[in-house]
Amino acid sequence: MAKKTKKAITRRDFIKTAGAGVLAAGMGPTIFIPRQARAAGKELKILQWAHFVPRYDQEWFDNFAKQWGKENGVEVTVDHVNIGQVVPRASAELAAGKGHDLIETFAPPAQLEPSLLDLTDVNQEAERRFGKQLALCKRSSYNPNTKKYYGFCHGWVIDPGDYRKSLWEKVGKPQGPETWEDLITYGGKIKEKLGVQLGIGLSQELDSNMASRALLWSYDTGVQDASENVIIGNERTIEAVQFMSKLYKAAMTPEVFAWAPASNNRALIAGKASYILNSVSAYRSGQKKVPEIAKDVFFVPPLKGPRGTRWTCEHVIYNYIVPTYSRNADTAKKFMLALVANYDQAMYYSELYNSPAFFDVSVPKGNRGYAKVRGAKNLRDLNDAWFDKDPFALPGEATDKLKPLKDAMEWSTNVGHPGPASPAVGEVFGTFVVPNMMANAARGMKPETAVGQAETLTKAIFDKWRQKGLVGGKM
């Protein structure tokens, strides 16, 4: 055999080496597949949004999930993404047929139903173990047309009115607004005399969507009825839209047309809003960043409409979904039940941001990471005690500020109220039909025209999803 001489890399060598490299890279994933397959059933991959209250993830949830995994011989991975990334990421994983076993959404994921496992068994088991689930939670995870639970709702978030007491005191309403009309009467005065506007979003974002629905429901109207028929085009909707137009002129500025979900929080903390509709997270941020403003923030339940009706939309609905591709569905179901059993900690570590879907869950014994609440047997007792005396109040701050939210389950409802959530309700929500209807009128469009446009869009969306058999009601 001739001795090989040292030479420069030839074209042939380059191709051989590059080809081998490409082949190896291509083969890589398949080489590891058998190892993954052996782990089936013994791992659980969870995808959920980064909680607005950072300590929920950092101090509790991630550790809880790992600990649960250790106790049950399951390797648990928790991936957090920004709230805006949840739906695109879940859609991509469902389309690919690969990804996480459990995905937590913040709004009813009804449009994904065909690719999700029916979770009737775990929902029934949860009710058997923990008592009745809150109706708004069931309506956000169950499709009555297909009789399928496409999700498992473990919690929700209250969306009260947050107001600056010192400002409302100066105009003679120290207990804050009670009716929508009060926002014009007193909120208008605050803007005129004190130069501080109201902050109800009329923008293409989450909070505006919820606020505009709360107004519709308080005016005894809505997007759909209980049987999923579109009812938005009626006189009461026009009345509500007229009201919003008046309210905008009396007490708000064009900033509300540009708001993102965090804008009302920022406005409140900056002392630039006399009243906003938001969860307690806005106030909690204020406690940490601007305590003097936070001490002045108080809460009111939903405002009454002209006929005394009052409703507010849940601020967030926590739904776990299990994609049909998951090979760890049973493990996922066990985890969901364990989470519900430990929801006292979810409430506490979210600083009362999370409310439970199952209020009758017993409080576990032992050290739970918070000061023991005397006499608290279940989550309802804990809820009442903590809302009566806020464990997170600042030194020198009133501890009973959250008291008006104690019975929030009575006046909170789901996005599709009085009917269930559905893909049609989700698309009307996701394409901002309702806040844009309000914004159009506030910007000068005739309320009748704004409502007519919204009705056309809504009917087209409902008809489309009805044809797919996922929505009830009449064409």
Partner: protein
């Protein structure tokens, strides 16, 4: 076994040494890249647009042109289509004029020229999302430093002030200002690339032609319009066409700054396709919206290829 053949030591002819084998082999990765990342998604978009696909359904049924008919009836889509053209044409006109001015300035020798070039290139090198979030703060309804500056200068926030008595301009809350903001931020983003392209073009103009024109008494404007711009025309067209492609398909600026609001006044096709197809779950209609970009993009691509071919011939 040796690579050398026989007594003459001549390398043995190998399959890799044949041009007809090697050429396709070398170009294969590029073709594969285009097929996998452009061709297949495009075909899928066409397939989805003719089906009843949703983000949750893996079972598709052919529905013909129903999605396109539904999309055309949608007032928001028509608004988004118009906005896409306004957004693209206005921002590209601004980019062209400003890039030309910048390129003319940067071709001169002055102190700190490299720093100036670096700073001008910065928006192009920074991630688009990061830059746009920065602009979101600059244009914030309450905390905008631009508004603060205007107030400080007495142009805003006082009775009789030129820009009004309100404390803020509400850049992203007033439809016309929101569209202006989106266009300006995109112009800021695209300007560096166009400037670099034009700068390269300017340096390729022979200095003796400009000198001769100057000796013949041609002033700046005459040299600009009768020598520089005609000679720069092919490369300017390339800059514009690149800009049109990038702008027509851009979602980041609109999505981050306004989410298409207020009341869809800044909605563009790319963002509406996302809201409809992904957020709302109607993949089929989302694909139909996105495909409306195709004829315009195909026209631009054809023009680019023709231009490239012409300059190759030249």
């Amino acid at each position: 076994m040796s690579d050398f053949d026989g007594e003459f030591g001549r390398p043995r002819s190998h399959i890799w040494d044949r041009e007809q084998v090697l050429a396709p082999l070398l170009i294969a990765p590029a073709i594969l890249y285009i097929v996998v990342l452009v061709g297949i998604p495009f075909c899928m978009a066409v397939y989805y647009s003719l089906s009843d696909a949703t983000t949750g359904s893996q079972t598709l049924h052919f529905v013909g042109l129903r999605n396109f008919q539904a999309v055309l009836k949608d007032a928001v889509f028509r608004k988004a289509l118009l906005n896409t053209f306004i957004f693209t044409l206005v921002s590209q006109a601004l980019v062209l004029v400003l890039a030309k001015i910048l390129a003319l300035a940067l071709i001169k020798d002055f102190r700190g020229k490299w720093l100036a070039r670096f700073l001008i290139l910065l928006p192009w090198t920074a991630p688009i999302a990061l830059g746009t979030i920065g602009w979101m703060w600059m244009l914030d309804s309450i905390f905008s430093p631009i508004d603060w500056l205007l107030r400080y200068m007495g142009l805003l926030g006082a009775p009789g002030a030129l820009l009004g008595a309100n404390s803020n301009l509400y850049w992203l809350g007033v439809p016309s200002l929101a569209m202006l903001s989106v266009i300006l931020v995109h112009t800021w983003r695209m300007l560096p690339l166009a400037t670099v392209i034009l700068l390269a073009g300017l340096t390729s103009i022979p200095q003796e032609i400009l000198d001769a024109a100057e000796v013949d008494g041609a002033g700046f404007w005459r040299r600009l319009f009768q020598i520089m711009i005609p000679m720069l025309l092919p490369i300017m067209t390339v800059a514009v066409l690149f800009g049109i492609v990038f702008t027509f398909t851009d979602i980041a600026v609109v999505y981050i700054l306004t989410q298409g609001g207020p009341v869809h006044s800044t909605q563009v096709l790319a963002s509406w396709a996302f809201f409809k197809g992904i957020e709302a779950g109607d993949l089929a209609q989302g694909a139909a919206v996105a495909l409306f970009l195709f004829p315009a993009m195909a026209g631009v691509a054809a023009l680019m290829l023709r231009l490239a071919r012409r300059s190759e011939v030249a």
